[in-house]
Symmetry: none
Subunit: 194 residues, 4 copies
DNA sequence: ATGTAAGCGAGACGGTACGTCGTGTCTTAGA
DNA sequence: TCTAAGACACGACGTACCGTCTCGCTTACAT
């Protein structure tokens, strides 16, 4: 008697809870987010949340990642430098600024206290992105656009790391101009040119 | 009544509280650390803690940074690559592994939720280290050991970032060998050598 | 499809639920008894219980009274004192000690909070017993074995009351010897014999 | 700095909580009384209640008994029958009708589920009253106003029991006329007068 | 040397949230 | 059609900390 348009009560509720979680987190911040509050605002019993997620961290992870998961697909225009620039700027625009930025920052913060969140963050978001990046880098390397000596796993870290450092540690804003400067430095290398 | 050997009751108490905080954090983790617990274990009234620190985060920051503050002085042997390697390895050994590693990780995590902690972490630890690093890099650049084009502020980020990325995000262990690979990649640059 | 040997699925289930209720109440006490628990232990849906009884109290009343209802028939040997002694001792033995005693005590306790239970307890158990008692007392009075002045309704209360008082209020054990002492006092009266 | 008129914060709060408990119990009944509700209405943290009483039953016992404890003093006019009548009627008027009646009924009900409440009820209320009653009966017996054979401990039970039976079991109202009828029956005895 | 204040331990207090349990209603799938 | 299973909104449980507050007691300073 139920048609495709109303797939299941359970999924409806799950979505509603995730939406409220994002809303509330944006209003009061992750630290003051509470399962009690999410339940009340969604009009849902606390148990309905605990049945789905074991902790505030797990709920928050789902709430932040679910909408952006199919988000950052990798371009391949043939020009690795342009593609990296495009991809990194997209990531910075999505995760490095409001509205998602503060939530993503809080999510990474939570991962430092909660190993389950750290693991899930890696598996659901970081590793897939890294794999795509490494694959793209490998193609570029094979085409001679990157140094044959370049250690591709490390390349992933040196491309992401500086931005995460600025995002999490010094907490200065992330501009496209900054991305450019990082890319320039990485491409050229630190050693004096002969 | 107080002599040099017991400089001040207040300082004694402060030290005792900081010691307990580290102890307790190592035992139960930052998430389950509580001011109530620190007070009880130290044998101190809660007020005595609140009089000194405004929040658990601030207390924890002091507890983690106080002992390691006079820690990572920069060497200058004349060889910038050797000095960087030495310095980064020292930092990794101190902050990247037990016993201090988990505490430092939690501290950075807390900084994501608490702007005051983020600011204090930067001012008391990150910025001073960065300044020393940049100064050392500048000398090397002037001596021709680094590319004249190198953007020194960015250099600081690309040296630290990859290690923080691995420490905070993928949470894989930090070995000296990994430091070496990062340095190699950064020095050589990603572009193919002509 | 159902024959005499399996009178009805419904009745079977009802009996099973009542049995579990008694079992569980004996194990954990009435206060910790729950419909949820009874359903789980019986292997029955909660609805199947709610369809039959409106509340825990009503279920418990049925569970306690059903087996003992056809219990306390009144003897008439011609000797009213002997009959009262026999009857009261039987009641005390059945309801005043384990295994049924604690359940009956809890049932009366529940009746203090739940008027429906109080009413049902009276109608299904107390009043029928009282009617039989009064009838027996009336015969005895007509035969001259009891004072012609005796107020028979009150007689019922003064025979039962002291035992209930001891059972519910002072919660001291009920022995046959105690029954004897009560009967002696009631028969003789408190006034000095002239 | 504090004078006799403001004895202590603690006692103030205790009294406020007990008052609210009685109020709330009268409004919603014992079954729906909750520690949460009492705390909210009193404007007090739940812990402040749990610090003082281990359970709803214990709190309720205090709330009901505290005001009426110094309540039912025994008269001695020299006429035991008149004194019993006076005393029993006073008890019936206080505990057998609103406002206290329903609370006392609920208290006795709770005692059936909670041994601690049963014990406290006995020690703080029932036994002291019983002791006074027995003492008064003993004087009357020595003066020849009661049968020399009367078993005084049992006398206590047969005086109280019928009223408790009516109060708790049949739950009919308790009138002075009923008290009279019980006393008449008990004084005269059930045996036919020769 | 003696007030007098400041710091202190202890812990009560009003709150908020926790994670769990049971209620009574409702839905779903299977017999 | 009735059932078992269990999701659901709700409300209360009893616990844990929060940050504030009052208590006496002990230091240590200023008179």
């Amino acid at each position: 008697m139920s048609d495709d348009a109303s797939p299941s009560r359970a999924a409806d509720r799950t979505q509603a809870i995730l939406r409220t979680t994002v809303e509330l987190a944006q209003e009061v911040g992750y630290a003051k987010l509470s399962i009690e509050g999410v339940a009340a605002r969604t009009g849902v019993g606390k148990h309905t949340i605990y049945r789905r997620w074991p902790s505030k961290g797990a709920l928050f992870l789902d709430a932040v990642l679910t909408p952006s998961e199919p988000g950052l697909d990798y371009p391949d225009t043939g020009d690795i430098v342009a593609d990296l620039r495009r991809q990194i700027c997209a990531a910075v625009d999505l995760l490095g600024r409001p509205p998602l930025g503060p939530l993503y920052r809080a999510l990474v913060g939570e991962a430092q206290h909660n190993p389950a969140v750290a693991a899930a963050l890696n598996e659901r978001f970081i590793r897939p992105q890294a794999d795509k990046t490494v694959a793209r880098l490998r193609r570029a390397q094979q085409q001679g656009q990157l140094s044959a000596d370049l250690d591709l796993d490390v390349a992933m870290d040196i491309l992401s790391g500086p931005l995460y450092f600025r995002f999490l540690i010094t907490q200065e804003p992330l501009s496209h101009e900054y991305v450019e400067r990082v890319l320039d430095a990485l491409l050229a290398g630190m050693r004096p040119t002969p």
